[in-house]
Symmetry: C2
Subunit: 355 residues, 2 copies
């Protein structure tokens, strides 16, 4: 088995190093190979996702990804910007199913913006479709408007689109996940306005018939953004499209107050996957040894479970992380009065020790 | 001067009645005329926005709107559903500039999901473009896919689009509003993925040159959804497109904990406007006399200020509402220990008395 290790930019290298250290101590049989991605790859090869990196990712069973991006690339043409690497990987590997848990750890309740009683015990799984929607829909571009409010003016446009089988396969991912949890799925769309959302809702209802044991409800995206704030614990599995999922999964992650703890998985239909923390590259603290490696370490656990068929090893990592939290160690992002502040490397070492 | 009064469905009739009562006591010179809209209009005329209602709205200087919608219309074809009325009014009246304040009243800090220190004193103005974007963009519909992941499959699609002049005019609305406040505008888009957002950002930068005294920054929509949770008070004026504005303005409103207090205004280029509460039709509590009329009463104040050129009268309403809150009267949605619970009518009466 082969893991492609793509640390990327900013804190990416530091946090991925800790995850690799944790994987190594488990003494499993796999090979790792590293490559540049994002801004780092642009600097070295002139492209955020060089052919060689893409090839490595495609051939691997799983990709362990750090983070990409830095303000300094903001002025580049869009195809050369670091975040194109992640879009390119999703597209080329067909990673249509994104799992974004929003979990609030008992010890970290105080880090949330929300009142403790609203957030304690939160455990939401957001399933975001990741290769369709307005992210990739053609046609898109700039042109001169021929209709609309200002015919003759310069305009830009993008196409939101979903086909029935694209919605079916993500629906099944969500219903299957719900079967292993509380057997409830909330599908989020904007069917009162969008044609795409109406098809989304129709297909969700159709697929629900294959899962009579799972309860399905529908929520409009604006209402979902509100209910997440009002009563996040009412949600269990949430399934939604690429664009709405981008917004809602970040909102939900921030509600927990500890986005530095949240892993993610992006899978294709052969369970090949890309695993990355839910947070970004944080260029402001890069290289200082203070970033929280736990989201990346927990992403490695998801990788063992979903792509490498090593559920026991995944459990061991997850218990070790819980143990380390319980012992009071904290990186700066989750530190609070009465706990012990540690750096990236110490945190990784503590997880290794707990394993 | 003429006001079209469109109470709509659910609690709409009750809350609009209180706003009209408040307007009447101000003894200003205007005429009011009522008409059915939404589900109520569908029941009576077979259409949520009958020609007669649209004509009344177009001829009036301002529209005072309650709310539309009820679960029982969910099964209707989309063009007949209540919310089409509000889309039809926006489009036909050209109401491109939506003002959605998210204010946390001192007395209601406790009603928020957020910790008091994060929300106390919040005063954000979200300016949402309201007649463009994927809400109205053509083409849209269903078809057989000829490319994409599943050629030959049924698919649905919508078009996100903005032209330069559409973005320019909403940018000016935002910069003008910022001049009267803290002189800061945050423009929210998704320029790392969308062509439309890239034009949005480019035009914001261009228009900013006309306002050297106003500071402009840009934020990606997923990050905005997070920062609203993390540190809402960092925002002042936020300007964004129709779709992102729908989501973020509702998120921000719910953060205050008192969406029953939040008015909104939707204006066209001649300052003709539609004024409505930020909350919905709440069919579950309709007819019970318990709904909070203050958002609608405050919408009437915005109407006096923006469309009817009566700023002093608007001030009088707003001070009266503050006085009533200070006196401890609360409808159920904002009630807390130690305050006096009142019904819709009593709340309206209290505002009248305070004027
Ligand atoms: C970097 C960006 C293109 C990406 C997205 O919008 O999908 C990110 O926000 C995410 O959620 O993984
Ligand atoms: C009813 C619906 C069409 C509408 C919208 O999406 O604009 C509503 O959510 C709003 O924000 O006014």
């Amino acid at each position: 088995m082969k893991i492609a290790v793509l640390p990327g930019d900013g804190i990416g290298t530091e946090i991925v190093a800790e995850a690799v250290k944790v994987l190594d101590v488990l003494d499993l049989k796999f090979e790792t190979e590293s490559a540049l991605v994002g801004g780092a790859a642009y600097e070295a090869h002139g492209h955020p996702l060089p052919e060689s990196t893409l090839k490595l990712a495609k051939e691997a069973d799983a990709v362990l990804f750090g983070a990409v991006g830095d303000w300094k690339y903001d002025k580049l043409d869009r195809p050369l910007r670091p975040e194109q690497a992640i879009l390119g990987l999703r597209k080329n590997l067909g990673l249509f199913a994104n799992f974004r848990p929003a979990i609030c750890y008992e010890e970290l309740v105080g880090a949330s913006s929300l009142k403790p009683e609203l957030i304690a015990g939160l455990d939401i799984l957001i399933i975001r479709e990741l290769t369709g929607d307005i992210y990739f829909g053609q046609p898109r571009g700039r042109r001169v408007a021929t209709d609309g409010h200002f015919p003759g003016a310069e305009e830009a446009f993008d196409t939101m689109r979903y086909s029935r089988p694209e919605i079916e396969r993500i629906a099944r991912v969500a219903f299957d996940a719900a079967r292993k949890r509380s057997k409830r799925v909330t599908s989020v769309d904007k069917n009162n306005v969008l044609e795409t959302s109406q098809l989304w809702k129709d297909v969700m209802l159709d697929v629900a018939k294959e899962y009579p044991d799972v309860e399905l409800d529908h929520m409009l995206v604006d209402n979902a953004a509100m209910q997440l704030v009002k009563a996040p614990k009412k949600f269990d599995v949430v399934v939604t499209g690429n664009m709405f999922g981008d917004i809602l999964s970040d909102e939900a992650a921030m509600l927990t107050g500890s986005i530095g703890m949240l892993p993610s998985a992006s899978l294709n239909s052969s369970n090949q996957g890309l695993y990355e923390p839910s947070h970004g590259s944080a260029p402001d603290i890069a290289g200082k040894g203070v970033a929280n490696p736990l989201a990346t370490i927990l992403s490695a656990a998801m990788m063992l479970r979903f792509s490498l068929n090593q559920p026991e090893a995944a459990d061991r990592i997850e218990s070790a992380v819980k143990q380390v939290l319980a012992s009071g160690l904290r990186t700066g992002d989750i530190w609070s009065e009465g706990t012990k502040r540690v750096g990236t490397r110490e945190m990784g070492d503590a997880v290794v020790a707990a394993i």
